[in-house]
Amino acid sequence: MSEKLLAVSTSPHVFTREDSRKIMWNTVLSLIPPVLGAIYFFGLRALWVILVSVISAVLAEAIWLYARKMPLSMAIDGSQVITGILLALTLPPTIPLWMASLGAIFGIIFGKQVFGGIGQNIFNPALIGRAFLMAAFPVELTTWVAPTPGFHLTVDATTTATPLALMKFSHQMTPYSKLFWGNVAGSLGETSVFLILLGFVFLVIKKYIDWRESFSYVATVFVLGGIFWLINPSKYPDPLFHILSGGLMLGAVYMITDMVTSPVTPKGRIIYGIGAGILVVLIRLFGGFPEGVMYSILLINMTRPWIDRLTIRRRFGEVRK
């Protein structure tokens, strides 16, 4: 009788069925709104780009795992599916399919597997893939088309510029409502702030991402962009435009929050977001590119070990130096 009152066992005492595989597949679920948005705005071709990217990522991972004699089941643990989808969502709608495939393969091999596979990567693999494509095929990666809402099978694409490029190079403003709902030119999944926020709510409720990182990232862009706007409103875009346009929301929700590449402490995550936010504003306003989200996240990825070391909490009894 007394045995049942007090069961003595070793830790862990709290169990959950949630493992990395489940987390990854749930994150894939959270990507459904932006994926549907991409197909809605850019036609069926968006779906092909996403499928090609995902399949390439899974195959690259499977071949690598096979060569290293590791369990092949790791090739469908969901993480490479996320990489594939995220990469596709950052690509322009007109990208040749083989380029999407090449980017996914490069991202998986050189962004993830050379560091040791899942959980070991320093950089976000999807962004590594995109950075490679950006350096290899700059023209294809910066050709944008106007959206054609309504799940069209085929689209007559008209080439146009993204809101950020319009702002930077010809000082044209895009209405906020278009930016919020996503009816603008841009990468497949970055246009609709609304759909990305749906995914954000799901991820935060599930506690898969830390809202502090996303919030400090976006808030920094808002504040710093706002400061420049107040200094010279005729030259710099206003802060609301900053946070609604480009890939900022996609990066803030799905990329900077990547569990593997984020600092572990809450304080560190806030610093991480602030650092990336500063980089975005600097690149957007003073750099050669209209958009700086990709490089801001890749650069801030490198600082993670130092941020972790600086913000690690003191243990009890440790003497302050």
Binding site: F110, V114, F132, A135, A136, F137, P138
Partner: protein
């Protein structure tokens, strides 16, 4: 120290003690000029010339150089041959000389050359030094030429200026740029380490 055969001194530079892939020396020029195979080959031949003749001269005079000033003396000898190579290429192959830019004069401070003088020539016989110089040069040559071929193939679709990939091929601009150099050399080093860990030999 065990006496090694002259053939060993020649062979070790090719793979086992390869200056680029194992010792990771001379990376600046390796990364910078290997965007085309022909540039790589020219660079490697210049290095070959400088390394061989520097080793010869320094091997001959090493006993009369005071120890305290040996590095400046080595540099002086090396600089002489670098100047010879530089002027020769400027006169005979102006286009390639232009493509290689400052990297021919910079052979003076190339770690491979000075490193071999300091670490090998100053301690070994003249014959061994010459074999070492040939082996190291060839080790440098095959790596940088292969690197140049891979980068040229993917960056231009050609090898030594001959079109290999048809017009369907879309050149990867990145391979001509510095990142392509780092990526390709990284793959080389990784593959060689993997082969060595697997075979245990080489």
């Amino acid at each position: 120290m065990k006496k090694r055969s002259l053939f060993y001194e020649f062979k070790k530079g090719l793979v086992a003690e390869n200056p680029v892939l194992i010792m990771l020396l001379g990376l600046c020029s390796t990364l910078a000029v290997s965007n085309k195979a022909i540039n790589s080959l020219s660079m490697a031949l210049a290095v070959f010339f400088v390394l061989f003749f520097s080793s010869l001269i320094i091997g001959l005079i090493k006993n009369i150089i005071p120890d305290q000033v040996r590095i400046p003396s080595f540099i002086l000898v090396i600089a002489t041959f670098v100047t010879l190579a530089d002027l020769f290429m400027k006169a005979k192959f102006p286009a390639i000389s232009k493509a290689l830019g400052p990297y021919i004069p910079l052979i003076v401070v190339n770690c491979i050359i000075l490193g071999r003088q300091e670490a090998f020539v100053s301690k070994n016989s003249l014959a061994a030094s010459l074999m070492d110089a040939i082996g190291m040069s060839l080790g440098y040559l095959w790596v940088i030429v292969l690197l140049g071929m891979v980068r040229e193939l993917l960056g231009f679709g050609t090898i030594f200026g001959v079109r290999v990939l048809g017009s369907w091929f879309k050149p990867w601009l990145v391979m001509v740029l510095p990142p392509g150099s780092f990526i390709t050399l990284g793959i080389f080093v990784g593959v060689l380490n993997w082969l060595r860990s697997k075979g245990g030999k080489a």
